[in-house]
């Protein structure tokens, strides 16, 4: 990676495509339930038009790097605006340059292997 000299760092762009699976946890709320906050974030995602899928342990969002992290940043601000003073989010972020693979493609790939081996 010798060619990455400091001079050209400013030319680096963020990835054109990524997926982020995130789980947002409000901290310091009196209630142990987080369903209201999760629902508010789902509404934000729907309104944004970004591709997203909720599962029991998080939500997967797909788009450009900047789109995805801007909408999750807005999700933090939205939940803060409802009175939650602290938020902790865990994320899994994936990028690849060899091919375009959607969330559905990934699951199907594994299911095909499982189907053919049984």
């Amino acid at each position: 990676m010798a060619s990455s000299s400091p001079e050209n760092y400013s030319d680096i762009k963020t990835p054109e495509r990524c997926y982020v699976d995130f789980c947002l946890v409000p901290v310091g709320t009196a209630s142990a339930s987080v369903a209201n906050e999760v629902a508010a974030v789902q509404k934000l995602l729907r309104a944004s038009g970004i591709k997203h899928t909720m599962h029991s342990a998080g939500t997967t969002v797909e788009g450009t790097w900047d789109q995805v992290f801007t909408i999750i940043g807005k999700a933090h601000s939205l939940v803060h605006s409802s009175g939650v003073v602290r938020i902790q989010t865990s994320m899994r972020v994936g990028t690849r340059t060899d091919k375009t693979q959607t969330a559905e493609d990934k699951v199907k790939r594994v299911e095909d292997i499982l189907g053919s081996s049984s």
Copy 2:
């Protein structure tokens, strides 16, 4: 938490119930595809009888703390046994003592809020 003196640490048990959402990544394989390793882990989970659900960014497992982490540890060993020398896994782990809530319950709770507000 003043009552937790060192003397009685040995009496503490691991939680009777937890969920773990995990994403296992083989490192140092020549291929960028991880589908074979994910499929092998799915077979292990099926054979174990533990409750689990795969999604595009990971797999959620539910059971006692010891059951869940033993099976994920075996998953690491299984993938190592196929020749992968390094594995990196990210996990989200949840425990609660106020109620028993399954993965399906959590999703339904959010969908109910979304449904009633639209």
Copy 3:
């Protein structure tokens, strides 16, 4: 959270301050070592001037939401530009509105509690 109607989602800004602890894993490289990639990312962080601290399991970055995620996005692109076709990163992200607390403050807070109780 009744006041968050779709109409004003566009007004929501990303947080002014956050910390992100991230661990970037190159996938599909022939080598199990990730030290070269981690070092390249450290150089990028240094050149950027953003506050960051490396530890054995990741690197913690502090700044505005947009600064932090832009630099981590650039880190993905930098590692891709060296020939790595797939990257998987896990992140912990924290925001709070009740006070400004640096990474050092957080550690000191815990050490003070530990010191006063022993």
Copy 4:
């Protein structure tokens, strides 16, 4: 991975060595501070004798798979016993079979690369 037939799954052992970097978050507490809970967990780790290092975004623990996850499970139970009804923990877990590398080794490896290139 054709040799991993269901019949011999029961012979698989959990890894002899791993590191886990974890961040435990109490949910549904009235306070946004988590320092008391973090301190209680540090005391548990100290009393256990397991190798561990705290940083501002988590704690890294090293040992056998079973040792590490048993102590983190006890940490959950300890925090629950103080009245916290819900806990969410994010973890990064690493295992490798090609060599034994401590947390200090990993940081030194990167610093050596950074030092030799500047």
